[in-house]
């Protein structure tokens, strides 16, 4: 048993740390730290900085322009990025579609699409969930009917994250009504500006816009946009979901969030003393710190298994469940710590003239509400429990 990083891994960590120190623009890090919201230009700029270094597509092999990192290296990179307050890498093209095309795409698709993901020419979004198909994704109804050299798509997708920035969308569509619902699904690539597509923003609980509904009315898509064979979409979807699970525990986020909460609790006062000296609040912090310390090891144990076996197993659902609960607990503490100062509407809190909360914490309540999503998206924690019940417990 040896819980230390190897010498090479430490050297890698130092390299990442030095790179971020030299290349992450201060204003960008400030925006991330204060939760004041990144725009498309910020995200594009950060992608370009990483791409220049060859570190953008963290899960891709060198063959396709990735760095060819091991799971542990990816983890180190994530951890350092969180520590430095970088924007997160937008996953839809890079972490999701990229690996799908590398595994299931044809030569033409790989040659045309992958470079455009790296360069930022294409911004992909995801057309998976539908109003009637959330946890039960296989019940999706959006239809694609073959008509000569085209498919004609009709239906509706929802929860499409950052679709407002996208020029492309990858979709799961029904191409056949088989007895077994999973067998009639295909994976297809669509240009957002194809006639018949309408994107409508969904306003979220805290007032922000990051997800959308996408409506398809007689949308004609070239048949060559199909990925893999017709009706093999479910296999691709399952493959993609395992990739979506890289860094699912969010350990880096939580480590940074813990530091932020501690700093905040040293700043704000209760009963004439810093909040961190209040035994009830200190106990809340200690409790989540203990959970996080265990999570770091659980995460590394599963990463090492993935590194040895080549693929993560169903036990990564444990990371999703516990990792999101810890993140939400930290959001909860960051909100609580502010007392009444957490209450102003985020836009007013950020305007700065009220100065109720320390500048980096003005949107803590909004972040708490927004992050209720992490235990719902990417397969809700209830669905993760179903997976574990079957695959791990064999019940």
């Amino acid at each position: 048993m040896d819980l230390r990083y190897s010498e090479q891994e430490i050297a890698f960590r130092d390299e990442v740390r030095a790179f971020l120190k030299d290349n992450l623009p201060t204003e960008m890090a400030d925006k991330v730290r204060s939760g004041s919201g990144l725009n498309k230009a910020d995200m594009d700029a950060w992608h370009a900085i990483l791409n220049e270094q060859g570190w953008l597509a963290t899960t891709w092999t060198k063959e396709y322009g990735g760095p060819g990192w091991s799971p542990v290296q990816r983890h180190i990179f994530e951890e350092e990025c969180c520590r430095a307050h970088t924007p997160r890498i937008v996953p839809f093209g890079l972490a999701m579609l990229g690996p799908v095309l590398q595994k299931f795409g044809n030569a033409k698709q790989k040659a045309e699409i992958l470079p455009r993901i790296l360069s930022g020419e294409d911004w992909w979004c995801q057309g998976y969930s539908e109003p009637g198909a959330g946890s039960d994704l296989a019940s999706l109804k959006t239809k694609a009917v073959r008509d000569g050299n085209e498919y004609v798509i009709n239906g509706q997708k929802t929860w499409t994250t950052l679709g407002q920035y996208a020029n492309k969308i990858f979709c799961l569509v029904r191409t056949s009504s088989e007895e077994k619902r999973q067998q009639g699904i295909s994976f297809i690539l669509v240009d957002i500006d194809t006639p018949g597509i309408e994107m409508r923003p969904i306003k979220l609980i805290e007032g922000g816009y990051e997800v959308n509904e996408v409506f398809f009315t007689d949308v004609r898509v070239p048949a060559e946009n199909l990925v893999g064979e017709e009706n093999m979409g479910w296999t691709i979807a399952k493959f993609l979901l395992t990739h979506e699970r890289t860094n699912i525990a969010g350990v880096g986020f939580s480590m940074e969030a813990l530091e932020q909460v501690k700093m905040l609790a040293r700043t704000v006062k209760r009963n004439g003393k810093p909040l961190i000296e209040n035994p009830l609040f200190a106990a809340r912090i200690a409790q989540v710190e203990i959970d996080l310390e265990a999570m770091k090891i659980t995460n590394m144990r599963m990463l090492m298994t993935a590194q040895k076996q080549g693929a993560p197993g169903p036990e990564t659902s444990i990371l999703k469940i516990k990792g999101t609960v810890i993140r939400q607990e930290l959001n909860d503490l960051a909100r609580r710590a502010l007392g009444p100062a957490a209450a102003p509407f985020p836009a007013e809190a950020l305007a700065g003239n009220l100065a109720l909360a320390p500048a980096d914490h003005a949107t803590n309540a909004a972040q708490y509400f927004n992050n209720r999503k992490v235990s719902i998206f990417g397969g809700s924690n209830e669905i993760q429990r179903n997976i574990l019940t079957k695959a791990l417990l064999e019940l």
């Binding site: 969930s129 039960d136 969904i202 007032g207 004439g272 102003p344 509407f345 708490y368 999503k373």
Partner: protein, 353 residues
Amino acid sequence: MDFDLTEDRRMLSDTLNRYLTDQYPIEHRNEVAYTAPFHDTAKWSEMAELGILFSFAPEIAGGFGGEGFDVTVVFEALGRALCPEPVLPALLASRLLQAAAADQSELLAGSIHYGVAIGELDAPYALEEITTTARLDGAAYTLNGRKSSIYGGHIAEVFLVAAKHENGICLFEVSAKDAEVSSYGLIDGGGAAELLLDNTPAKLLLADAGAALQDSLDIGALALCAEAVGMMDVTKDTLLDYLRTRKQFGQTIGNFQALQHRAVDMVTEIEQARSINIFAASRIGEADQSRSVSMAKNLIGRTAKLVAEETIQMHGGIAMTWEYSASHYAKRLIMLDHQLGDTDYHLERVMAG
């Protein structure tokens, strides 16, 4: 033993519930709650005409109520409708004016808005920690300090301000036009203000006001508890409707035992919340008023968080949206813990005995 409301209170409750259902539906509520001035003057007047403010004061002070249950019936109804109107500051002010034996006829008629300025940035909850000070020059008082997070302060014409003077806490009246008032909207709807006092002229209402201020804070916390109970009942109904109608995997999701048991746990906690709220209301005016209210605020703070979070989670996405009413109930249920003492603050008060 009898857990039924008196005839008068039931009538008030029915009337207010009916009024809010008809006149303050969620769409209108959201429009008012998130747009300055976070207040509907016409609806406010109509609500005042129903007599809800009179129920806060006893007959001797010009009202027809003033007991714990007079407060809880009104706030439970306000909670059910998620009403953003500044009724809470009126309640706190009524209590303070009564203690100061000051006239409150305009307040009870709803024709004047008071802001109650007790908490400060570094003393959000505990009365003893405040640092705003009063100074006496000749016959006139002036105040210095910053009062923070004054709910309803954005439309207040008059502020009732707690300030230190000669080692005691006194209650002063400050006209809004004599002070700097900085207004803002709240994440869960409604408005508030910061009050900046810089040699601001003030009128002394009550010297040695510690007990009166604590009483006012107690009543306010009780009102928030009742508001939460009203909100939780509605939120629970919304969730149960969803569990009964939403289909996944070929059946309504309410068929899944994993969700059934969680819904039952939620309902159990809501019944406990209802009970502690009744208990606290019954102790108003008794020696253990403060401790009883703290018990209620602690329990209800925990329950409100459970109900808000579980409702969002079991809806699986839809309750994360602005368009869905439960998201607004969830926000208010959570943020209510940031008002007049959170779960930890009230737990400490219970621990202190």
